[in-house]
Symmetry: C3
Subunit: 159 residues, 3 copies
């Protein structure tokens, strides 16, 4: 039977999301079956890049949705972000070194069959609806689904 | 033989501690044998909520104990904490969505048989004594005990 | 066959690097075969402690190299660093408790046979050359090498 990997993506920082996708795609490219479980700030990676989230139901969720807007193009660096300047510089350097962009990595993940599961509890708390997410997110699940997957994986990471 | 899981709880951030307990309880509820290894800032989750730590022996440990006071009710959000306002808002939103509180998750962990092991070195460094910790912490161990556990686990995470 | 462990060292924070080495050495001491994969900010742990990096090719990499200088003696605490004061205090407390210094842990890792692999992509992006790194770093690899290692490990962590 093939080897399997799971990654919990908890962080919404650009550098950590990049690392998560590079590992996920590397594992999938080597023939592993890969599942990514998006939770908490990790949702920012799979929010659409357009306007504010539509799922927010009260002022607290709306405020959270504005402060924590997300979308792959808005993720901050975990260090030296400096209001986005650090991230812009990092992106420019990466481009100069022919590193794949996050958006290219995300497209590859789909092509390589990386499976996305998204944490229902986070969506309830942050007022994120399915329409707020990129279309490749199909399964909204509880933690039990993640556990059922991870307990049979050969490689599990929390990022 | 049953499946096993281990979680190193290194972080003392409210959101990461919540994630650790949700995963630990989810794993235990699905029949896995779960061990949590508390280290560094992760100790803040298992410090009592009352006054300053009593184990501090010199002014540096006392100062660290004041700045890094801990207790489940004092954990900051890793993002948007804003002196506690962000955390309060997050807790209010969670309550509105009927998400378990951290204290409820911690009580469930005990009921589900999640095993706590606490890092002796951290306690020595931070001047934390056993009296400073919630009573469910029974085993104060070295890293070798964690390794002996983790090497036979099916799911290992560092949070 | 012996048990194996892998650690992705993504963080360059003093406390997290300490944790990574304590776990790596603990695993190696218990007979496990251990691989550390250095990536992103984790490179700061294995940069030499002397002057600026020599691999930087353009002003952006040079600026990054200055801001993110690294070397084991310059790693900040993830919390309460306060421009290095927090780290100094932490180091003093650790010394008082006879905790190994990071440099001692790193020397032990070599003696215990911990294998270092370093992420080629990070080196390209940050303009880090092999001369910028401590001599025990021999293998500059792509993510595929990490995956090939990790998928057969009994303990995998992302720190």
């Amino acid at each position: 039977m093939g080897k399997k990997a799971s990654i919990v993506l908890f962080s919404g920082d650009f550098d950590k999301v990049m690392a998560a996708y590079i590992i996920a795609n590397g594992a999938a490219a080597s023939g592993m079956e890969v599942t990514m479980f998006f939770t908490f700030w990790g949702f920012n990676a799979i929010k659409k890049n357009k306007g504010p989230i539509v799922g927010a139901k009260n002022w607290m969720q709306k405020m959270m949705g504005i402060m924590n807007r997300g979308g792959s193009s808005r993720l901050p660096l975990s260090k030296f972000n400096m209001g986005g300047m650090g991230r812009s510089m990092m992106k420019k350097i990466m481009k100069g070194q022919n590193v794949q962009t996050l958006e290219e990595l995300m497209a590859d993940a789909v092509d390589l069959g990386v499976k996305y599961i998204a944490c229902k509890m986070t969506m309830d708390v942050m007022g994120i609806s399915k329409e707020d997410l990129v279309p490749e997110v199909k399964d909204i699940v509880g933690v039990a689904t993640y556990i059922a997957e991870a307990k049979d994986c050969d490689l599990n990471l929390f990022i």
